[in-house]
Symmetry: D2
Subunit: 357 residues, 4 copies
């Protein structure tokens, strides 16, 4: 049991259910003296809020964050920062039907197997709303990193079969389309593709890519707490993630050593760097000063209106169609969640010592 | 710093360097009363030992394990099990050259960046020999799991472009070829491919697949300590891993929800199960009773004799060729390491509570 | 930094400051299916609430707890239980004076040394109000223990020089006097003693004793996580504690082995027990089935109106008198805090495995 | 189960049994670049070695430490330091009798209750020999602290009724008598007292005092990881400890606030300090720059030749006399163990951040 905390020095614990009184996080180990206000966090939460585009669930939630502790006179005190987002919309629905069967692709069955029963309202603790606490905490981490010159760029690499074209990569475009894609044309194609799938009562997955720049060499530990191992755990702890890769990732399996090794060279500043970045900025579990690059594969939204078979509480095989409007793709809203988990992990690595920070 | 321990209840700490006095592990939290002897562990260590085939480094190491504590009258006592493998071959070479430059694809540079200097003999702590402690500890975990009806099958799925044919999958074949491939023909082709690469002074990567069967539903925690998140960390903490995926993995990104969801059905025994296993046995971070299936992408051996550019201690750009005979592919020897990490993680999940064990 | 969590399986994290928006705790790892409501917790909080008697600070606080998550349909779900107590009285005072100097016996100076500044309102994070989160979480632990037949009795053993008479020990009396003393006459004497000290603008300390009965043999681990070591940490983490002892405690230093050893005998039920309980129910760090008995020494309230010397922000030596009415003794209100920490520690030991629970 | 590790950043795990192959420790998180050799550790181990005086068990053990990893070219590498002390004397005795009953004051009974059986040879894991790993690790911590100007002085304050006279305190005397008492006359009296008790087949306890000087203000965390709470756990995890107190300790219970508060003054160097040190160098769980002072109460050696009652494996009440020569008092040999645990705890606090180190 337990398992709702992550991080060694910069520790984040989340709590809350989809339809309980609220959700939140407690951040322990945040350095003292960092200017922090609710707006710093709200901008991140707004990126994952429902109802932001035509392609997300229309559930109305303000998702307004409140800082309950750990900040005094506008600065962090070094003691726990308690964050809360109250649920506004928690009593609107009859959940008796959903309580009666196991939704394919959801955690209904495994929660029952583990705990004997479950909070069936909107997925309870296994809801995507759990990520609110992650994003709120990640916003704090990202702010601290930014002040140290560490920036994180996260975007949608693909939705279904629609992938961005590297040659058309445009950072400015990311926040201009509902999919957070850095390629205008791909975003347009993704919209059309989604319209089609949604019309069929179906959903799709995709890939998110994240680039962390400015991390000094020396972050991460050599054995179990490798920086990439900690990132793998952090990213895989996001509900819908089924794959994670760093640098060239799965492509390395087909590469030769002579292709995959990043040769060391002297940079323009006379410092040692690498000519290429196949390793994604991490060697032997430790950052090498290059951009940290990783990708996460996100599964299709499990809630679909298309008819599915399942089993109900009485042990009968039944057919269901999950009503209501659901996100036909989780990827765009998961972008900021991936970014938050990256921020938490990199900051914790920096604070865990070994190098000046 | 630190970071050489993994596991919450069944905790494993490894120590040791490639060319130090030895390597080992301390296993804390092992249940009491389990029959255990050195042979139980040695069979696992032999699977990763060098010199087992024509395709591994000919370094001569007995890799004989000794149990120093925690076992009394043939049974575990519940107190720490200290395991040691002495290095036999540690003084045979002049390392002054290797100490003078940074090997591409190795952790030489990042260790220097983090610690200010490094044990340059054979990679020191970042050597693949560090996995000896993992495999020794994993053998204990695997034995405990086996007695509970949980079995782990791990094998090479691909080496370079040579992939096993699902239709020719033959479990018996795995231990009959030097690549641990469950497909005789693919193994033959892999051998030929490797001969070719080696002749060019080059190396290749591959993919390892692991299937854990018999895990009851309910293992893993819903948020950060998801079973797949803990597996992701455990597997990604193995030096050469650059990608990790569970179930359909990266393929989910292109799948539709209607294809990817595993519908619930009643099994022949009347119990609830799923018709398919796209999710790889884990939903919402918790095992669902199905086989747990995951894959790891392994990069090509970084040590190659082909000429590479790098930078030396004096800050000069130089060309090097790494002499000696190295494994042209790490994959086959990494198979048992992946299996060991899977065993540790699943056992720790089982012991961490929530379900009877 | 960090350090606001305790417990391995049943983990408690507290947050909040004396004059912030509120205080709370997140309990992770609570078993599922336990009936729980706010009243279960409120009865514990009421025992530490200010204004309960003539001998506590008259600060008006309802200290009403709210469960924000982790309970569904009246039962714990196995996921984090978030508890909050809002501060009602947080804006009533001018703290500019207190901000300008270091109060002797308080953490003002050490917080400044550590963090560079501090939330000076009522002690901020170092306020006794931080224990609200502990007591709320401890109430849950105590409830679970009670259902398993484990009961905790905690009371005041002494206030200043006034000590209870063992021969007049009366359990029923504990909740009948404002000092939680199990001896009516001692309580009366304590009241008179306190009136006298208060009249002098002074404060006093005391000793709290705790008896945990019903703990089965086998709880605790042999080395660093000894049950008594974990109790020592838990109790010493309460602000005003300066001493901790188990069983005969410091008296063992003057005892002989033949006096101090508890001889094993057969109990009336034919089971092995001990004739005496000098060890306080713990041998080798593991419970032996006997009552667990420990004591904590509590220092006098540091806030006194008597004139004291100190140093202000400008580095000047000054004289101060801390105004307002403060508890002349913390001991009575700390009784339930000690009980809460004992409950958390014993439950965590039980859940950490090795014996059936 | 588990529980054989301590420390957050500077982590120590011990392993080994009294009569197994050896005992040891793995130190993870040690900063890189610290000069370290076996002699640095051996001098500490020699202080706890048996056979050093007429008042310790004459068991012959060299207790020679060997560094197996983590040190390269005479300096720590930042990776785990594995330390081993081989048992030389492990096969010399018939333990069949001791295996047949429960020794009063020992952990025989509780180990059986927890694990179902025990390594009965010399106490197995619960032997005082387990502290070898602590002392070896503590020697490393002490060396690092010393280089930072932090020194630890530990000595025997009392043995039975014989207490040192504060006015005759002489630091130089500590290493000149077998009891590590800083008072020549008290040491002489202690010897006579012990001769008498030993002649009666009995044993005695005592008090150890420890003073850590040079710790900067700001070490320790405000809530659960208070510096004194962590010291309490570390010291209470030593087998024979039954009481722990900081500064004035249990005496605070009878003190008034006006007596117990340490007034702040300006020191000769113009810096803020306290006029007295009743708090023992820690306020609100954080060091205040003054000497950290604590005491531990040590129980009498449980192994005595005097006749005792107990119960044997067959459930019969019997009388026993524990043969062989045992330490009539553990206190002198425990002095260095207390010092080691203090060193580990203070160093871990320093490395856990918040202040420059």
């Amino acid at each position: 049991m337990s398992g709702s905390s992550i991080g060694k020095i910069f520790t984040v614990s989340t709590w809350g259910e989809s339809h309980g009184k609220g959700l939140g996080a407690v951040v322990d180990g945040c350095p003292a003296g960092i200017p922090l206000c609710e707006d710093d966090i709200q901008v991140y939460l707004n990126r994952r809020k429902p109802g932001q585009s035509d392609y997300t669930t229309p559930r109305k939630e303000g998702d307004v964050v409140e800082i309950l502790s750990g900040v005094f006179e506008g600065k962090t005190t070094g003691t726990p920062i308690s964050l809360i987002v109250k649920n506004e919309n928690q009593k609107s629905k009859d959940y008796s039907e959903i309580a009666s069967y196991y939704r394919p692709g959801h955690a209904d069955f495994t929660f029952d197997a583990k705990y004997g029963f479950r909070d069936y309202r909107g997925g309870g603790r296994s809801s995507g709303r759990e990520t609110i606490g992650r994003v709120a905490a990640g916003a704090i981490a990202a702010k601290i990193l930014k002040e140290k010159g560490i920036n994180i760029l996260t975007y949608t690499k693909s939705i279904g079969n629609i992938e961005i074209d590297k040659n058309k990569f445009n950072k400015e475009e990311i926040f201009k389309n509902p999919f957070y894609m850095p390629d205008k044309e791909a975003a347009k194609a993704a919209g059309e593709y989604l319209d089609e799938q949604r019309a069929n009562g179906d959903s799709v997955g995709g890939v998110i890519e994240c680039v962390v720049s400015g991390v000094p060499a020396g972050v991460g530990d050599p054995v179990f707490d490798k920086l990439d191992a900690n990132l793998a755990k952090a990213i895989f702890s996001i509900g819908a993630v089924k794959g994670f890769e760093v640098g060239d990732g799965f492509d390395v399996a087909k590469a030769r050593g002579s292709e995959n090794n990043d040769e060391f060279i002297l940079g323009d500043d006379g410092k040692i760097t690498t000519a290429t970045n196949h390793c994604g900025g991490i060697l032997g579990g430790i950052s090498n000063g290059n951009d940290i690059v990783f990708r996460a594969a996100i599964k299709p939204t499990p809630s679909i209106s298309k008819t599915q078979k399942t089993v109900n509480k009485d042990g009968e095989e039944i057919e269901i169609s999950i009503g209501g409007r659901h996100d036909p793709v989780i990827v765009p809203r998961a972008v900021v969640v991936v970014e938050a988990m990256a921020a938490l992990t990199v900051l914790d690595g920096l604070l865990s010592g070994g190098i000046d920070f």
